[in-house]
């Protein structure tokens, strides 16, 4: 049986972790590789690195990060943030990353999804779907960190990215992101039940029970979190103990 996945997400700017905090086993909380190793030791199932610099000029810093992570981390990891071309995806994958996430670029140019999938396989292409609730039972896709509406319906867009060849959907509720109110379970369940590819729930986790809800009520395949782990509210290992106690199958 497949395990439900717990995925810490690291925001990286100019090659350094943003909002890094000190764990006992870390000498440098700003070093993404050190933090990554910390989470791997806690049995994180995958890692996501989001480059919030996301500028073309600084791309070499990201490439260097991928190389350093790949030398020391032997679980799958994903790189995202401002990727706009097949060439950039290639540069990242060939350095040892397993997947990339596409966000704004995929909305602007959906063919990037199919081009990426046919060049590297669907399993490498994760599409980040950032959605905001705009009416009862209706969520819309926003880009540019939630500031720009697109008019795209979240469910329809999720189904479209699957048809285009996305291997996975990273679904962030822009309403919940940055809050501690829990994942948007209704959105997560609606998207999960509308597509045949795995859905990663994201945005809003504050309690361990939120992870359980994402899997049981939201029907997610994986759950992503950032600040609860970075600020040490609880560890990945604690979340996995909690989920095991609540009959959710996880890798320990």
């Amino acid at each position: 049986m497949l395990a439900k996945r717990i995925i810490p997400c690291l925001d990286v700017k100019d090659g350094r972790v943003v909002k890094g905090v000190q764990f006992e086993d870390l000498r440098d909380a700003g070093d993404p590789v050190a933090l990554a190793r910390h989470y791997v030791a806690e049995r994180a199932d995958e890692l996501v690195f989001l480059d919030i610099t996301a500028s073309k000029e600084k791309r070499p810093i990201v490439y260097q990060l991928v190389e350093r992570v790949a030398e020391q981390v032997f679980i799958p990891f994903t790189i995202g943030g401002g990727l706009t071309s097949v060439q950039e995806i290639r540069e990242i994958l060939k350095r040892g990353a397993d997947k990339v996430t596409l966000n704004t670029a995929a909305v602007r140019n959906p063919q990037l999804i199919s081009d990426g999938a046919s060049a590297f396989g669907s399993q490498c292409i994760v599409v980040a779907v950032d959605a905001k609730q705009v009416a009862a039972q209706r969520w819309e896709i926003f880009t540019h960190g939630g500031s720009r509406p697109t008019g795209l319906d979240a469910i329809a867009w999720a189904q479209r990215v699957e048809r285009l060849g996305a291997g996975e959907i990273m679904l962030t509720s822009m309403d919940r992101d940055g809050s501690t109110a829990g994942y948007d379970l209704e959105l997560t369940r609606r998207v999960s039940s509308s597509v045949g590819i795995p859905v990663i729930a994201s945005g809003g986790v504050g309690e361990m029970s939120h992870f359980r809800d994402a899997f049981s009520l939201g029907q997610a395949d994986a759950a992503l979190a950032a600040s609860v782990f970075h600020f040490g509210k609880f560890s990945v290992a604690q979340v996995k103990d909690y989920l095991t106690d609540h009959d959710i199958h996880v890798r320990r």
Binding site: A3, A70, E71, F74, K94, G96, F120, Q123, G167
Partner: protein, 199 residues
């Protein structure tokens, strides 16, 4: 030296990194002639079976691979590389493989999501040399849509359960294969690569 066969089937960097991490030297070989001096051969692979087999043929790897294996050189196939060790595959019509282990590769037939992607427990056969020293039930990271069916059930070295039992690893004398990615399976995977390197 462990030779990693480079026939254009995707990214080899993670495999090289994993061996380097456990202190074992590898060499990437894109010339069939190199294999004659290989102590061990690693056959990676992502993508489609027919395309990969076509590349192996085009680059002249098929015969050297088969003769190295006949000469007793340990070979480890990973993911699609494991599937290539079998007789045939159904992926995009019937395609012939290396036929180093008799059996067929077919589409994963189950009610769950396909591809089978993520961490799944593997049940390890106690007689496996490749998988020795692992917990009897550990997790490995999989990404695949097709599975191997060796004719001789004795060649199955590990199984995984995904609404049905499937083959996770094969083993016959000096021929080994894993359906999952040891280079992405944390300590379980590194132990497997170490076992292979020490053969």
């Amino acid at each position: 030296m462990i030779h990693i066969v480079d026939y254009g089937a995707g990214n080899l960097r993670s495999l090289q990194n994993a061996f380097e991490f456990i202190g074992m030297a590898t060499r990437v070989s894109d010339k069939p002639g190199d294999l004659a001096s290989a102590e061990k051969i690693l056959l990676p692979g992502v993508g489609a079976f027919a395309h990969a087999m076509g590349n192996l043929e085009q680059q002249g790897f098929v015969e050297p691979l088969q003769s190295s294996v006949r000469a007793g050189v340990p070979v480890l196939g990973i993911c699609l590389g494991m599937q290539l060790l079998l007789t045939t595959s159904d992926e995009h019509g019937r395609v012939e493989g290396l036929d180093l282990i008799h059996g067929a590769v077919t589409k994963l037939d189950c009610a769950e999501k396909i591809p089978h992607m993520g961490w799944n427990e593997i049940e390890v056969s106690s007689s496996s040399r490749l998988l020795k020293g692992l917990p009897q039930s550990g997790f490995a990271y999989f990404v695949h849509s097709y599975v191997c069916h060796p004719v001789d059930g004795g060649h199955v070295a590990a199984r995984f359960d995904y609404v049905g039992e499937f083959c996770a690893a094969i083993e016959r004398e000096n021929i080994f294969g894993v359906q999952f990615h040891p280079e992405k399976s944390q300590e379980v995977g590194l132990q497997i690569l170490m076992n292979f390197g020490e053969m």
